[in-house]
Symmetry: C2
Subunit: 215 residues, 2 copies
DNA sequence: TGTACATCAGTGAACGCGCGTTCACTGATGTAC
DNA sequence: TGTACATCAGTGAACGCGCGTTCACTGATGTAC
């Protein structure tokens, strides 16, 4: 679409800068991130990132948006063609962790509201879209297997568990190291987490718990 | 124990500096954190933090250690005196989220291995101790209610779910805002998450799943 | 009890560095006629 | 097809700032005799 674009007018600089930003986060972490370093890696003047994204926050927000888009697409792809909703849910869980692993730099930014423009409209939009894939699948599970399941809670639990798993992965590795037995791979964790969660979803029979109804 | 210590020799500066560090993280986030700002809030020379903690990493590691100590103590406290292991587990879950909420600055640092000295011995020790409280409780649940439960997986799922909940709290708030219905409080989320998880633990009957035995 | 000395705790001036931002600029592209 | 002009994309020099680190220093405390 856009011409290869050499010379003064680059033609595709915003995308190149975004990719460079991801690159910087990957190798230096969010500390050590700076517009000047991004410009350096993109091979342009240090003022260029500011011109296109305004400031650090703007550039990181663009990275976060790209992350949610990727997440959405990969979740859809992971679930497509799988008829049984439970299997689809498990596949989506695997997909989430895979995206988080393969795009760690994006993830490092996607939920860091202190560092991105949390009120960005496009950001909210793509975030919601990604979540929607999960919630729809949980709804399908409920419909076929357990109509009393509270969909929203179940979806959020799945999301939280996968996100927590990704974040605590390093700690788990330490625990595995101590245990000296076969250290669990991330895949194994996903597998066993989803098993436990699915058990919970299937046996959830308390849409409102008897004690403490409100508050 | 240590005298009030006014004058040139402060007497308790390391602790004061650690507290100031927490204060800085609370108000400025991890960005905007600097030894000089910590010194400023502690009312001492800007070289003092470096003298006691070496560098930023050293000071943040001290904060993380304090965080894990608090977490451990609060988890023990949350579970003490509760006989039924399931109720104890739920109480510990609530305790985790409460600590995470009330000590957000500590939490912001405790799992950020890019920013603390992940190989610190004391850090590993207190982290393991905190996790141990959780695992012991899950073990008690297994013993009384479901001997086939895989304790390690179940404990890690609980941990991940609570950690994910805390991290995604902001996103959930957005979703609740869209839903326009009663926005769920954090407490409500904890309540319903633990219900779902406990369901899963009680009905876990597949220590090794039939398909895909390994890898 | 007193004195000398070593060690510890904290200071403050100085340094060099990388950062974000500004701004006048220039090269390339698009549009009107 | 050509010309004039506006707009867009990116430059590079300059600025002021806050940072971490160093270092010679000084005030207070502890210990040996």
């Amino acid at each position: 679409m856009t011409p290869p674009a050499t010379g003064y007018h680059h033609g595709d600089l915003p995308n190149v800068l975004r990719a460079a930003a991801v690159d910087v986060i990957s190798s230096e972490g969010l500390n050590g991130f700076s517009l000047r370093e991004v410009a350096r890696r993109a091979g342009v003047s240090h003022a260029a990132p500011g011109y296109h994204f305004g400031d650090v926050r703007g550039l990181l927000t663009a990275v976060a948006i790209e992350g949610f888009e990727t997440l959405h697409d990969e979740l859809v792809r992971a679930g497509s063609g799988i008829d049984d909703p439970i299997e689809r849910l498990v596949a989506i869980g695997r997909g989430y962790v895979r995206v988080a692993t393969e795009h760690r730099a994006h993830l490092e930014v996607m939920f860091r509201e202190d560092v991105i423009a949390a009120d960005d409209l496009r950001l909210a939009e793509v975030g919601l879209a990604a979540y929607g894939v999960l919630e729809a699948t949980v709804a399908a599970v409920a419909e076929r297997y357990n109509p009393t399941l509270r969909i929203q809670d179940a979806a959020r639990l799945c999301w939280s568990a996968m996100q927590g798993l990704v974040e605590l992965q390093g700690k788990f590795a330490v625990l595995d190291g101590l245990a000296a037995e076969a250290s669990s791979s991330l895949d194994d964790h996903v597998e066993r987490f989803t098993t436990l969660i699915v058990n919970g979803l299937l046996h959830d029979t308390s849409p409102t718990r008897s004690p403490r109804r409100r508050r």
